[in-house]
Symmetry: C2
Amino acid sequence: MEQRVSLITLGVPDMEKSAEFYEALGWKRADSPDGVIAFDLISQTLGLYPLAALAEEIGLPIGALGTGAVTLSHNTRSKAEVAQLLAAAERAGADVLKPAQDVFWGGHHGYFRSPDGHIWEIAFNPFSPLDGNGAFRWNGY
Amino acid sequence: MEQRVSLITLGVPDMEKSAEFYEALGWKRADSPDGVIAFDLISQTLGLYPLAALAEEIGLPIGALGTGAVTLSHNTRSKAEVAQLLAAAERAGADVLKPAQDVFWGGHHGYFRSPDGHIWEIAFNPFSPLDGNGAFRWNGY
């Protein structure tokens, strides 16, 4: 199995409401057929999909599908961007779970929960800077 | 907010056990300090992190952290690879939730649950082929 994640799917109760949250943060939808809303990321895609349909597709009861044990981190190009993006997420309807703060390993981060319950970290890692294209490779810090 | 996910974190109860699952599938660990196990993906990193520590970091009770509403899809280069990778995951200790099968939209896929409870899709999408580097861009099918 090669080392890649091609598609991250977020099961959500209300597709349009969730899409509007990401659009409020400046993301652009890709062309999508009915039933999926997709956002192109770097070499992968993030898809919104109805939670009930996802449960049926996986074959697990909808009540068994939870969030939080998978978190998605968006790394920034500067420390100041962390507080800025958390504030933007809050304005778009997210709950800030942890305000921007320095972390013991030398970075700076915070967490928000999107209106549909998914958990995002906004992080600045001075030891593993993004390249010009936004690509990330963790340098072990 | 630019469109990228830099780090995907999977909260897991037993770090080494989870790492061994991915290693059994052929993945190689990046150099990691104590407390994190990282795998380099394309322009991003997948990190294993203790579920209890993740709960503390987010500020939610550990019992609130669930799986399944976020799924990770690994797309393949061929249809045959789907069944092969599901079988490899099963040998490594995963439960196959859905065996390899054609999908209504014209692709071929299946799902497994890793030993720590995370849900992976293995998918072949003939309309959105991977490029030589394994990069994926969804073409709307």
